[in-house]
Symmetry: C2
Subunit: 327 residues, 2 copies
């Protein structure tokens, strides 16, 4: 398949792996790139910039295809040496960076000088237009369905993607709700140039997470995600578990007075590691998209990507071409 995204990134299939904390290690990124998609190493999962440099080297050892690095810029991460992480990316010869969170503008000159293509993750048309204006090469447009941070507008991809297509000139990928060939074709029809998959890639053989996590995604249906931290205007979509339900209780009890300190013991990233790596599923809140309802197996990354592409091709050449032919 050839789209503006496969052209921009030099990849075979328009499928990008989402940056995911405690999941986006070299093993998964390399597997996605080797399968013809774009694998993404998550920078801040590495404790130091030196660790990131080593992870990039590890990824390059496992694939000779393009891969990217995700870096999430948040005001709350005050102590993160962003400049040093970015330097590790540049020095590592990575040519694709996904930025998320705050406006990446301060970092663009250094990245662009190194010949790096930048794709910025956005949850609204307004932010995607801003990304385009400041010089990002592409956008990742993140609908209400998505795991992690969907923003506060609650606009699903059925609306957000065509709206983005109306406004943007740069290519963009659909993020949130993407699971299979059906979602890929739907995203392309709505104007996107490819898809970003996070949760779906967690349920693969190569994903470096505990088997209990993969099984939890297979078991979950579409009704089992929750939105937490909405009163803090830092909404996160997570899988329902004991920690999540407790967060919601605290938010309900405290109302508008709730602060991050009231729930920190249930939501911090370190607990995410305990869930994802040790399989202690109730240890803390962990990001999960509604797409869990469409996950029914744990294939290898290559099996998954090949299946998506075959299904997409069949939908286009058989189902869709068929409804026209039979008119």
């Amino acid at each position: 398949m050839k789209t503006r995204i496969t052209e921009l990134f030099g990849i075979e299939h328009p499928i990008v792996q989402g940056g995911m904390h405690y999941v986006g290690y070299a093993e998964l990124a390399a597997a996605v790139s080797n399968a013809g998609g774009l694998g993404i190493v998550t920078a801040l999962t590495q404790p130091t910039p030196e660790d990131l440099a080593r992870e990039i080297t590890r990824c390059r050892d496992m694939t000779d295809r393009p891969f990217g690095v995700n870096i999430t810029i948040l005001p709350t991460f005050r102590d993160v040496p962003y400049g040093e992480y970015l330097q590790a990316i540049i020095d590592g010869g990575v040519k694709i960076v996904e930025t998320a969170g705050r406006n990446p503008e301060p970092h663009l000159p250094a990245l662009q000088a190194a010949g790096i293509k930048v794709i910025h993750k956005c949850t609204s048309v307004r932010h995607a237009l801003k990304a385009e204006r400041i010089g990002c090469d592409a956008a990742s447009v993140d609908g209400f369905e998505c795991g992690g941070h969907p923003g506060e507008d609650d606009i699903p991809n059925m609306i957000l993607l065509p709206r983005a297509a109306e406004e943007l000139t740069i290519p963009f990928i659909a993020s949130g709700g993407m699971a299979d060939g059906r979602s890929l074709v739907a995203a392309l029809a709505l104007g996107a140039d490819g898809i970003n998959m996070g949760t779906r890639f967690i349920a693969t053989k190569e994903a470096p997470v505990h088997d209990k996590v993969k099984q939890a995604l297979v078991d979950a249906d579409e009704l089992q995600t929750r939105l937490i931290m909405r009163p803090l205007r830092n909404t996160e979509r997570v899988l329902s578990n004991a920690a999540t339900e407790r967060v919601l209780e605290i938010e309900q009890e405290k109302g508008d007075d709730v602060t991050i300190d009231d729930i920190r013991h249930l939501v911090t990233g370190e607990l995410g590691r305990q869930v994802l790596h040790e399989g202690d599923l109730d240890a803390g809140a962990w990001s999960c998209g509604m797409v869990a309802g469409l996950i029914h197996d744990v294939p290898s990354v290559k099996e998954l990507v090949d299946r998506i592409m075959a299904e997409a091709e069949a939908i286009i050449t058989e189902r869709l071409t068929g409804v026209l032919a039979e008119a």
Copy 2:
């Protein structure tokens, strides 16, 4: 275009007009049916069963193509003589009924005995499966995006449609977020057999509503709908206006203690008439889908339907076939 829905209903295009209070009169239904879609007369907008009988006759005078009647069954409408409305539909020779609200099972034997095909509106896979089990011929699957009552599960169509496709045997149409050829192709790719459009059909020349209402839909972007009556578990998606914002204030103030009596003066159907027919846009809350963000003009129904079908065909034969051909 030929799908299971065009076959079931004997229509040219897989586009169904949503049943809409104070909008679904014979003029609009006939225009949609004449354009090759399926027009729908809203039964309960007619004050009496006799008025509905006359409206059905009026619609038949304006089109010789199939059209349907929507009937919404709600526990709160205790005084509605449902049996008499249904008899008017049967006696009027209508062959397609859309049911919405409560379980239509008690009414199915009479409808089926009259050779009427029944399509039931559902906001969850669970309810769609129930509709299939009790013998409905088709389902209208209603995503979180939709105007009016999206239910309480908040599952958008990017997830809900493929989930419905996995579970249902009967054909189903996608409702919510449907505006154009892009949404039609996306819905078909996700497994639906056609689309239902409500809000989009209000912004047409033939829709019997005030021009100010049509202009409000053109002016609105995707961020301007609100969910009211959530604390009553009777959530309704409406356009933001003075009445809507007041409802939200009252809900905020009263919290879990809010009752319908606190907001009745802002949300009742009679106010909807004042908004829709008299153009008094702030008179009360009125249903509006997020799709308002994708509405940019007020074409005739035929122009709209023809444009959707031409756009859908171009997306399939050019854009989607193109990304494959260029691989």
